[in-house]
Symmetry: C2
Subunit: 330 residues, 2 copies
DNA sequence: TTGTATGCGTTATCAA
DNA sequence: TTGATAACGCATACAA
């Protein structure tokens, strides 16, 4: 059975189809009588307006593409939940696109563009700056935003947590706690956060792994990477030569590192090795980890993103300040 | 700058707009010469086909709505990743809808329907059977599927893991390991899994909490619920009267229970209290938990869902068998 | 192979 | 307030 259209309802109600449209348009000028008549007929035919046709006519889909490339990060889920919920609260719908080796960012951006989304949000992580420019949409393309990651691209505002301030704050805390031989573990992503770490933490410590490369690694980030990196380091370096605190680029890495340090090398955290994460993912609060970490102001970031999408705020890069969450691990 | 349309390209190339369409339609009959001419003109004008208009004309959006109501479950993320990746591999796009107290399932289904999605997948959890019938779409509405949860609704196939078999397998394992005083902890969701637990596990154990109510709880499921339930139980029941193994409806509950048992009551797992989860969420594999749990065959489930959406398989309820994953906690 | 007419279901604009 | 005409961008069916 085909769905009823405004035309069908019009005939059923004995009016023109434009009157039907008006009955479904808030604030349209229509008499109560006609409206009632139309709604009744619509009810009988089980009519529901076709938003696709509306979008074509109004040139607005109220749909926002959200590109995610790093599902492995446990931090992503609550962030994504907030984002979708907030979009929905504004009448926007989320088109979720999963970036991976089989589906590139270019493919995703092109697809989203052709589907006439109102905006594209690159949510995080392994996007390189070049990625945002090689799609050549230009002319009439949707506005793009980078969330939870920095970007230097002209015309692509970034909404992120100030990594430099964050690293400085963490470093200050660690110094005060008496740690003197810090190291840090970089992940595959968050290029700038890593660079910030390289600038700040490196001043009093050395990278544990990965960070000797100046480019972002293509692989997905995960707990296992952290475990393997820690395993490599701890089995290679003698106890007396080891760092005394490990700063990880994100919590997933920290969990993996802590797992290995404790269960494979019998180290006590923080006594033998202190560990700091970044993101304040859910497991960080669990007694099983009790991870000292840094929390991004996700609420503010989501709000800022949506304000920019709706043009309630200027579309320009903003940095918010997060906060250190101290637990037992450092 | 407005985007170029097929008409613009037609003029630029000196052909009719239908020839332009043909140039962008694989397998259409068009000479190489015209095609080249069109593609060149399209390139010049930066033309990209409007999929919205195509959808309106073809009556197919290649868009699938995925309704999620339980983002707190750590199991959801990798499952969702698989689902979206597999949909994309078939040329389908995910419309992610977040069901919560501010955005009901009815609202979501209506919205998805009006946006002309090709299918609606209810991914999850706290959906009641009644929820699937009170939208009265009928006539021309998209097909609906229930993923990772059971359903008795006529015309709404469920793709799930066989809970009865799972519980039986877990029960058998626990018996063999010598546990004799099992209890189980039900969450807010997975009604049938709970019922199955009530039927199977209850035969040799009593519910720990929540399960005395016959209806599903409205609250979201989370680690904290498990922690609180365990806290209530352990502080109320004397050590000699306690169960010896706790079967949790999902891993999140199990993590919370394990946290409390160990850190607040000093219990050793599994010696003082064994714990079993359900889902094999990522942290279950970590040494910090080492949770014995049950893994759903997510690959099969995702594949089955997509086969039904694309009508490559009959649209009828299917149950797949998962597998017990034994670790240290029981 | 190419061009033409018509339809998809709605909105915008104007006339009655 | 209501009806009519045009437009949104593309696809289908048919004619040339």
């Amino acid at each position: 059975m085909k769905r009823a259209t405004a035309q069908n309802v019009a005939i059923e109600a004995g009016v023109s189809k434009w009157t039907v449209i008006r009955a479904f348009t808030p604030g349209a000028s229509i008499t109560e009588a006609s409206k009632a008549k139309v709604l009744e007929a619509a009810e009988r035919l089980n009519y529901r307006p076709n938003l696709l046709a509306r979008s074509l006519a109004t040139n607005s889909t109220h749909q926002v593409a959200v590109l995610v490339d790093d599902f492995a990060n446990p931090h992503k889920l609550p962030f994504l939940e907030k984002l979708t919920a907030s979009l929905q609260a504004e009448g926007l719908v989320t088109m979720l696109i999963n970036i991976n080796e089989h589906y590139s960012h270019v493919h995703a951006i092109l697809n989203a563009d052709q589907r006439q989304v109102d905006a594209i949000v690159l949510f995080g992580t392994a996007f390189h700056d070049e990625m945002l420019t090689d799609h050549k949409l230009g002319r009439g393309g949707p506005p793009m935003f980078v969330l939870a990651r920095d970007s230097q691209i002209e015309g692509v505002p970034a909404i992120s947590c100030d990594a430099v301030v964050a690293i400085a704050e963490i470093g200050k805390y660690l110094l005060e706690k008496g740690y003197r031989r810090p190291g840090f573990m970089a992940g595959a992503v968050h290029c700038l956060r890593r660079l910030a770490g390289g600038g700040t933490l490196r001043s009093f410590g050395e990278p544990l792994s990965g960070s000797n490369s100046s480019r972002c690694l293509p692989s997905a980030i995960a707990q296992e990477s952290g475990a393997q990196a820690a395993r490599d380091y701890l089995s290679k370096i003698a106890p007396e030569d080891r760092i005394d605190v490990l700063m990880c680029e994100n919590d997933a890495l920290a969990f993996g590192a802590m797992d290995v340090a404790r269960s494979e090398f019998g180290l006590r955290v923080p006594n033998d090795l202190a560990i700091v994460g970044f993101d304040n993912a859910a497991p960080a609060a669990s007694p099983a980890y009790g991870l000292t970490t840094y929390e991004q102001p996700t609420d503010q970031m989501v709000k800022a993103t949506i304000d920019m999408i709706l043009e309630r705020a200027p579309r320009e890069t903003v940095n918010f300040q997060g906060k250190l969450v101290v637990r037992g691990s450092a």
